[in-house]
């Protein structure tokens, strides 16, 4: 066994796709993600974004935290853990879900794959093993962190169904939030129609030993449309356009928040549609019922359309009387929507349309000098960009 005392010599691990990504990463821009080194930009963020929206893109998803949850009580366990009703998830289906602490404050969101009657894979951004293990007290269930045992790849863009077809995987029958298994090189490849872009796209799950052959197969199959590996910056723009929340960007996981007033409930993050009060007890249920019945939510999570073309990252929001009423958590110039878009936490009741509208205080850095812009921010619908192709089954051929 490797001597763990030397762990500090390599503070970041590399993923099974690292060799290919390192070769493509001509800018050499890397960032840490959950203990792995990952590409921020490989060549050109705009071109990478363009691949996500116009052709096909490959994104290394290995650092995403993955838990295998199995055992007789797996459904009951997950029903107690998460907000939604897990019994409704069919084998072969995926559920976007979230979970709270005792006080009904969000710990994380993620996707739940039902691999079998009593076997699930929970994917999320943050590590939760102590919470998941303590949640298992009183349940016949096992919980294992399998992050390093599965290599995951996100294939996103309008051409991805065609690319998979060309690679030998017929996914034409696969509906959104479903997955299927395909033989690959003597192993099992799982392909799910999921993603973080709000576009047509798939996520591929394979044993690490087959990671590079899979990468090569997809790159070859997608050569016709200019498939390209993408970094986190490009994905983040697509993520914001799709209106998805990201931990540490749009909310602070409740178990990590140092400041008492930074934790948020599902009501305050527009995730209350997930809450199933009828399924029996789940973590935070009593607190959430009290919040619902007492109308005690303090914050709202909104989508904003910002005047101008400067991304409004971290801008403070003001009402018509110049009082601070909120904070932009994610923002981008959206190339597809041709708008400056933002996700924001707004103090209630200002989410319901403040008198005189909201204004965002944006600081645009222009040749060493900040230019302060007070831009009108209008409530709008999420997602900002939602092409019908993301749901069409069978998927379109491009």
């Amino acid at each position: 066994m490797k001597d763990l005392r030397h762990h500090y010599e390599a503070p970041l691990r590399t993923t099974p796709f690292h060799d290919r990504i390192a070769a493509a990463n001509v800018l050499n821009q890397w960032g840490p993600w959950a203990g792995y080194t990952t590409a921020l930009v490989l060549e050109d963020a705009e071109m990478e974004y363009s691949a996500i929206r116009n052709t096909a893109s490959l994104y290394d998803l290995c650092p995403m935290i993955k838990y295998r949850i199995a055992g007789r009580d797996a459904v009951d366990y997950l029903n107690r853990l998460t907000l939604r009703d897990v019994a409704r998830v069919a084998v072969g289906a995926v559920q976007y879900t979230a979970w709270c602490d005792d006080r009904g404050k969000l710990l994380d969101d993620g996707t739940l794959f039902r691999l079998g009657e009593a076997e699930f894979l929970l994917c999320c951004q943050e590590r939760h093993l102590p919470w998941l293990l303590d949640s298992a007290i009183g349940f016949e269930v096992s919980v294992h962190d399998v992050t390093a045992e599965i290599a995951a790849l996100s294939l996103q863009g309008p051409c991805t169904a065609s690319v998979l077809d060309a690679a030998g995987f017929d996914v034409s029958a696969l509906k959104p939030y479903r997955f299927a298994s395909f033989p690959f090189d003597g192993g099992d490849l799982i392909i799910s129609r999921t993603g973080f872009t709000g576009d047509l796209g798939y996520e591929l799950w394979i044993e690490p030993a087959l990671a590079l052959p899979l990468w090569d197969r997809l790159m070859a199959a997608g050569a016709y449309c200019g498939i390209r590996p993408v970094g986190s910056h490009a994905l983040d723009i697509a993520r914001i356009e799709a209106g998805f929340l990201a931990a540490h960007a749009d909310f602070v996981p409740a178990d990590q928040a140092l400041r008492e007033d930074r934790v948020r409930s599902p009501y305050e993050l527009a995730l209350d549609w997930m809450i199933d009060f009828g399924k029996g007890h789940f973590n935070g249920r009593r607190a959430l019922l009290a919040e619902r019945d007492g109308q005690t939510s303090e914050w709202a999570f909104v989508a904003l359309d910002i005047e101008g073309n400067v991304a409004a990252d971290h801008a403070i929001l003001y009402d018509g009387r110049n009082r601070e009423v909120g904070q932009i958590t994610s923002a981008a110039w959206s190339p597809s929507a041709k708008r400056s878009i933002a996700l924001a936490q707004v103090r209630r009741p200002h989410h319901a349309g403040a008198k005189g509208g909201l204004r965002a205080e944006i600081y645009a850095l222009r040749e060493l000098h900040y230019v302060k812009l007070m831009m009108t921010a209008r409530m709008t619908e999420r997602p900002f960009f939602a092409p019908p192709r993301r749901r069409t089954t069978p998927p379109g051929r491009f």
């Binding site: 853990l81 005792d102 303590d134 009183g138 007890h281 973590n283 249920r285 009593r286």
Partner: protein
């Protein structure tokens, strides 16, 4: 079939006190006790066919006055073989120190005037602290929150009582409140017998040594207790502690409580997130709008309610309630009266020759070992009976016994008994030859027989971090639980265990106050 509006799980002293209080307020209460006899730690099994049963508790130190009066226990058969029991701090040479009256109001034995004066001063100070703290035992612990239902009037009175100590004494109180008992004794007292005795009394039933932080407050808690109406006094009921159990059971039944023994609760029935009854181990379902658990909080939440009805963080805290028993219980049947080198057998006999002896006995326990020379409190019940003669029974609480012995339970029990008898032989030469039967209950045995988590008679260790509004942990410190209609009323709740009934009485008062659970 009769119907009940309240079910009390556990017919120990707290369960009976709670039921009686609720019944007096008009509730139709049913007490379900798993054992064949109600009374919990005040009951026991027979050591031998011709001997009286030996209960876990062998002295009355902390019976709540509200329970004593409110349940009219004396009318229901409680009388005393001895009140204001004297304590003898035994010496292996026969140079015993005798403490008469509550907490040693008077000393006799070889001790100089300076020693007497020092003890008198320390005792007076500690008694005044205990007097100021005692009312805390009879309130629901306060909580800093809106609508916490704090009894502000009572709390203000307690605060005022503490201020009445005067500025200097209040400062001393703040200095000493969280200190360890050994430091205080070494500062104030010179006599090793006295130091050993007080150190022993402070950690009796705790999982602390006299040098462990916060051990003084446990001594204050002991002094705050009452027996037969006197603060810090000790009493021996006529007929043994079982008489207290019987008086409580009779009183509860007279108040209209239905008592069912041999009825083990399997789980709490929860519908629509509300406790609405219980299901017995044999499958019988009994419904009631109010369920009160007077058994330990750990077992209540993890076994009877079940994790799936609770939040993960809550289960985590319930799992982490510390409940390590450090006391073993020794019962010996003797052919004749043992001679503790001339000590009066009709007193409480304590073998704890100095602070180090108590601390060293605790040390072993920390490492899962049996102490070489355990310390102990001995009662010879028959010495208090007028018609005594012939055989004797010795009942002793022996500290400290490992709650998780490395050598395994049977081997640890064997060694513990051997070491205990060896110590006894030093103090009462020839006692070994008098023994006809012996029984030693290790903490695990106590857990098995009485259901107390870890064999700790407080259900959850009594220590500062599990006291008052932190007992058994913050969210359930006010007797209410997150499950509507389910309440706690056992020793694991404030103010803790002992044959007291205080927790049960407090819980009943809280339930009747109309605060929602």
């Amino acid at each position: 079939m009769p119907s009940y509006d309240t079910i009390i799980i556990g017919g120990g002293t707290n369960g009976l006190a709670c039921a009686a209080r609720l019944a007096k307020a008009g509730k139709r209460a049913l007490v379900l006790e798993a054992a064949e006899r109600a009374g919990g730690g005040a009951t026991g099994a027979a050591l031998a066919p011709d001997l009286a049963p030996m209960p876990l508790a062998h002295l009355l130190t902390t019976l709540d006055p509200r329970v004593l009066d409110g349940m009219e226990l004396e009318r229901h058969g409680l009388s005393y073989a001895a009140t204001g029991l004297t304590t003898t701090a035994l010496s292996p040479t026969g140079d015993h120190l005798v403490l008469e009256g509550p907490a040693g109001a008077g000393l006799s034995g070889t001790i100089d005037d300076a020693g007497r004066a020092a003890w008198e001063a320390l005792r007076r100070r500690l008694m005044s602290f205990a007097e100021a703290l005692a009312p805390f035992r009879a309130v629901t612990p306060p909580r800093i929150a809106r609508k916490a239902g704090n009894d502000n009037l009572k709390l203000a009175r307690i605060g005022l009582g503490l201020r009445r100590l005067g500025q200097d004494e209040f400062r001393e109180f703040l200095r000493m409140a969280l200190i360890n008992i050994a430091d205080v004794l070494e500062d104030e007292i010179a006599d090793d017998r006295l130091r050993g005795l007080v150190a022993f009394d402070a950690v009796l039933g705790a999982w602390l040594g006299p040098r462990s932080p916060n051990s003084l407050i446990l001594y204050l808690n002991r002094l705050a207790g009452e027996a037969a109406g006197t603060r810090a006094a000790l009493a021996l009921p006529r007929g043994g502690m079982g008489a207290v159990a019987d008086a409580m059971a009779r009183s509860a039944e007279a108040a209209g409580v239905t008592l069912r023994t041999g009825a083990r609760v399997g789980r709490v029935l929860i519908e629509e997130d509300r406790a609405c009854g219980v299901i017995l181990a044999d499958g019988e379902e009994i419904r009631a709008g109010l369920v009160v658990s007077a058994i330990g909080p750990k077992a209540t939440f993890l076994d009877l309610v079940g994790a799936r009805h609770l939040d993960t963080g809550f289960v985590r805290r319930a799992t982490n309630i510390r409940a390590r028993g450090g006391a073993a219980k020794l019962h010996l049947a003797l052919k004749g009266a043992p001679d503790f080198r001339g000590a009066d057998p009709a007193t409480r006999l304590v073998i704890a020759p100095d602070i180090a002896s108590v601390e060293e006995a605790f040390n072993a326990t920390k490492y899962g070992e049996v102490p070489e020379r355990p310390v102990m409190e001995i009662v010879l019940p028959k010495a208090h009976e007028r018609e005594a003669g012939g055989g004797h029974v010795l009942s002793a609480i022996v500290q400290f016994a490992p709650h998780a012995p490395r050598a395994g339970l049977d081997e640890a029990r064997r060694r513990m008994l051997a070491n205990t008898l060896e110590v006894l032989e030093t103090y009462a030469p020839g006692i070994g030859g008098l023994i006809t039967h012996s029984e030693l209950l290790m903490p695990q045995d106590i857990e098995a027989r009485y259901g107390m988590a870890g064999g700790n008679w407080h259900h959850a260790e009594l220590s500062v971090e599990q006291m008052l509004f932190l007992r058994p942990f913050a969210e359930v410190a006010q007797y209410a639980t997150p499950v509507a209609g389910l309440w706690l009323a056992g020793a694991g709740s404030h103010p803790g265990g002992g044959v007291s009934g205080a927790a049960g009485w407090n819980a009943a008062e809280r339930i009747l106050s109309g605060v929602a659970a």
